[in-house]
């Protein structure tokens, strides 16, 4: 259970720094604003249902905020340990590399949950005045959790490659934006390639959740995406055996 020790230390370090509260505040402010404006839009122009008229826009907007904020959460995870050199001591404690990766991932994931929970205030207040079917909202939040996990796993991997946090955030943005835009140019791509790319696109997978649809294929995709990047992170830590330690 050493990964819990790592996770706890990481969280206390995250919440001990000012930047955590900035990130939380910005995330909450932006998602609160999006909820408000999407709600106004729905009231003024309406839609067929709440799910397609309001929740879909809310989650699609929140996705952007998550993409903006999460790389800033993950950039320090391993990069800072490498820069400080604390990772060398970590490697000499009786703990597996996998537990280090897991502990770091879990810490960022819990921080993400701490970011997500307050965004429920808007929908909660809305429910107080106008009760609605909650299932689509829960599906949307599940989608957010899965999408966030994918962002975190990707950011954690990049963080294992460099000790420069700015480089780390930039490269993570690069990868995530690429995964986002990968299917935009549908006409240009050959059909077979397009099908493959659609299968890989994080955001197309996310789309179903925003409409209140939970497809096990989508859940499995996110699980595999996370697993793949955690595996890469694990391999990247193991690379010290031939790359050495600064």
């Amino acid at each position: 259970m050493k990964f819990l020790v790592i996770c706890r230390r990481e969280l206390s370090s995250v919440f001990g720094a000012f930047i955590a509260y900035i990130l939380l505040a910005v995330f909450l402010l932006l998602s609160g604003y999006f909820f408000y404006s999407d709600l106004i839009f729905f009231i003024l122009f309406g839609g067929f249902t709440l799910a397609t008229g309001l929740w879909q826009f809310f989650f699609l907007d929140m996705r952007l905020v998550a993409m903006l904020v999460l790389p800033l959460v993950t950039m320090r995870l391993l990069a800072e340990e490498k820069k400080l050199g604390t990772i060398e001591l970590l490697w000499t404690y009786p703990v597996r590399d996998g537990e280090i990766v897991l502990g770091k991932f879990l810490a960022a994931w819990l921080f993400f949950i701490a970011m997500l929970v307050p965004t429920g205030i808007g929908p909660l207040v809305f429910y107080h005045y106008q009760p609605y079917a909650v299932a689509p909202v829960l599906a949307g939040y599940l989608g957010m959790l899965l999408l966030g996990s994918a962002f975190i796993a990707c950011g954690l991997f990049v963080s294992s490659l460099t000790e420069n946090q700015v480089v780390c955030a930039m490269v993570t943005y690069g990868i995530l934006v690429l995964f986002w835009f990968i299917t935009w140019n549908e006409e240009a791509g050959m059909q077979e390639i397009m099908r493959l790319l659609l299968g890989l696109s994080l955001f197309d997978r996310f789309f179903n959740f925003t409409r209140g649809v939970i497809d096990t294929k989508d859940v499995a995709f996110f699980a595999m995406f996370v697993g793949f990047f955690l595996f890469l992170t694990w391999q990247s830590l193991a690379a010290r055996s031939w790359r050495g330690v600064r």
Partner: protein
């Protein structure tokens, strides 16, 4: 307690260490001596489990570092060359965290952390953030972190580097206090440090082990005679002849002449201080004695002499650019 068998580590085409073998018995303090870049840190890192060797194997208390890493590492306390601790934690919290990482329960981790604080003289700063402490304190926190979890083997990579003289003395006293309780491998490039605290010395150079012996034996091996440096105002040839006649002097070498003065290197029998005899020989002749001092052998000279006395099949080249 520590058994290293034919360790070789390569990074790409670069060979950091080659065929390094040694054993350290329980309760011993062994010095690991070598110039910068000799492969000390690489060897220490392999022993601590940071990365595996390319070839060879290490056993700590009987457990293979590569095949059984968790058991082996649980018995090792490691002090890295670059002391790095989390700057945003208090000293007490950090040591509790280290204890937990080493597999202790929370309460036991707290207790051992407090004990390590005490033995390293950190009680006054236990609630301070590590980032606000000086290098000397951080170094001690590094030692405290190695001691936490009561590992039987301690690997200390240059624990006194960067400390002021008083702190160096304290650190040495601390390490000497571990004798018999723990097995200590202490790397350094400072010779007096090894002489002060170590039972045996491993000398490593360019990734190979040159010698493995007690400090006294090594001294005998590399210091067959003492050397006195003399500078005299007087006729060069005559001064050299006169000093050569002083009883106990083995050889006189003229280093430089000029401006009516002469600088000489006088080799004398070991363990004899001939400075007064040399001084009176100079003054009796009416020459001016400008300088007279015993020259301690530098680490460089010790390495050079060790390299020169090694059989040629283990050493294939004479180093010319050793840092002192």
């Amino acid at each position: 307690m520590i058994a290293a068998e034919r360790l070789t580590k390569r990074f790409g085409a670069f060979t950091a260490i080659e065929d390094v073998s040694f054993e350290v018995g329980a309760g011993e303090i062994v010095g690991f001596l070598g110039p910068n870049g000799a492969g000390k840190s690489t060897t220490m890192r392999i022993l601590a489990g940071v990365f595996p060797p390319t070839r060879g194997r290490v056993r700590i208390a009987g457990y293979d570092v590569v095949a059984d890493p968790l058991r082996a590492r649980a018995r090792v306390g490691y002090f890295p060359e670059r002391v790095s601790v989390y700057l945003d934690m208090t000293v007490a919290h950090y040591l509790t965290y280290v204890g937990e990482m080493k597999g202790l329960r929370r309460r036991e981790a707290r207790r051992q952390g407090a004990a390590a604080l005490e033995s390293c003289g950190l009680e006054a700063v236990r609630q301070r953030l590590i980032g606000t402490l000086s290098k000397g304190f951080r170094q001690r926190i590094g030692i405290a972190q190695a001691l936490t979890g009561t590992p039987s083997v301690l690997l200390l990579d240059e624990p006194t580097s960067g400390l002021d003289p008083e702190q160096v003395a304290e650190m040495r006293a601390l390490i000497r206090g571990l004798r018999h309780e723990r097995t200590v491998l202490l790397s350094t490039h400072i010779l007096p440090e090894v002489e002060a605290i170590c039972d045996r010395v491993i000398i490593i150079h360019r990734g190979r082990v040159l010698a493995l012996d007690t400090p006294a034996n090594l001294n005998r091996r590399v210091r067959p005679n003492s050397v006195v440096q003399v500078e005299v105002r007087g006729p060069a040839a005559e001064v050299a002849r006169t000093l050569g006649d002083v009883p106990g002097v083995l050889a006189v070498h003229t280093d430089a002449t000029g401006n009516g003065t002469v600088a000489l290197t006088v080799s004398t029998a070991p363990d004899r201080d001939l400075r007064e005899a040399l001084a009176s020989a100079v003054t009796q002749n009416g020459w001016g004695l400008r300088e007279l001092r015993i020259r301690a052998l530098t680490l460089e000279e010790i390495f050079l002499s060790l390299v020169a006395t090694e059989p040629s099949e283990t050493i294939d080249e004479i180093p010319g650019d050793l840092p002192a």
